[in-house]
């Protein structure tokens, strides 16, 4: 579909094939707007939460964030990890770009198996919490170490794809919490395409695949501080 020049703006909305495209009794635009406000509410509370003590991500906290964003809209799917649909495991598939600009193509990923999902998330969160505790306790830890830890949390949650939909939005809550609990600010990805590229590298790359995205986040934070 190519855009029609001069078409009236219909409003931002989710992808039509997305399970969270449109909640019952609402338009797609209203659905989108409500979930934005709920995510904004979460982001707004992170600062005061971090002031009160470390924010320690856990599978339960990820589910709570997801429920907060989508609970009023999709009550049967919000806040629950994928498990089973009828007799079948509730697998989820998602695409990421791989290759260079010249050889760009999509690669399809399958999220972590529902059977292994809870354990996987627990491992991801424990790993982050242990690293965050070390960074807080250290006199020599650098700011980049904190950014790298939060980036790793974000990428791993996205790669696991714990929910039937809304994974990136829950992932942004996790990234933001990871940054804020380590004394940093939350970030906006001005260059959407660049974010996607670096996320893909983080999914497939070898030898510290999180580094390019972490460095990009460091640049964003640096630019917003000097602005």
């Amino acid at each position: 579909m190519s855009p029609t020049h001069g078409a009236p703006f219909r409003g931002f909305r989710d992808h039509e094939e997305s399970p969270f495209f449109c909640a019952a009794g609402l338009t797609p635009e209203e659905t989108w707007d409500i979930s934005i406000n709920r995510l904004a509410d979460i982001l707004e509370t992170l600062g005061p939460l971090a002031d009160a003590g470390p924010i320690e991500p856990s599978p339960a906290l990820l589910c709570a964030w997801h429920r907060e964003i989508f609970g009023n809209l999709f009550p049967s799917d919000a806040g629950r990890l994928r498990w089973r649909r009828g007799r079948d495991p509730e697998h989820v598939y998602f695409d990421a770009i791989i290759g260079t600009h010249q050889t760009r193509r999509l690669r399809r990923y399958r999220g972590t198996s529902p059977r292994k999902l809870h354990r996987r998330l627990e491992k991801i969160c424990k790993e982050f919490n242990a690293t965050a505790a070390q960074i807080r306790a250290s006199d020599t830890a650098e700011r980049y170490d904190a950014i790298h830890a939060a980036t790793r949390l974000y990428v791993k949650v996205l790669r696991a794809h714990p929910f039937v939909d809304g994974n990136l939005r829950a992932g942004i809550a996790a990234l933001s919490a990871g940054l804020v609990t380590l004394g940093l600010d939350i970030v906006t990805f001005k260059d959407l395409e660049r974010h996607d590229e670096l996320l893909s590298i983080a999914f497939v790359g070898k030898h510290d695949p999180y580094r390019p995205l972490a460095e990009h986040i460091a640049e964003i934070l640096g630019a917003s501080e000097t602005a």
């Binding site: 190519s2 934005i36 707004e44 939005r169 001005k190």
Partner: protein, 84 residues
């Protein structure tokens, strides 16, 4: 309701938080929200656009820009409208 939530004007800053600092409010779609919430909305909208993916995302942003919406100010997006 209008979309995607244009900040129309700065309201009076007359709130106060528990630690005594003042809260600044802005009006979005006729509703008064704190500046903190408005800033968080930018990040939240940015996250939603990331979630949509291509090509719908670029088409939607371009459409918004043609309608005169400053996507950069509401979603922090700088590479918007490349399809237009």
């Amino acid at each position: 309701m209008s979309y995607p939530g244009t900040v129309s004007k700065l309201a009076n800053s007359n709130g106060s938080t528990s630690n005594g600092s003042r809260t600044i409010y802005v009006v979005i779609d006729g509703k008064r929200v704190s500046l903190n919430h408005a800033s968080a909305r930018v990040v939240a909208l940015n996250a939603h656009l990331l979630a949509v993916g291509e090509p719908q995302r670029t088409e939607m942003i371009a459409e918004a820009q043609r309608a005169g919406i400053n996507v950069s100010s509401i979603a922090g997006v700088s590479n918007a409208g490349t399809v237009a």
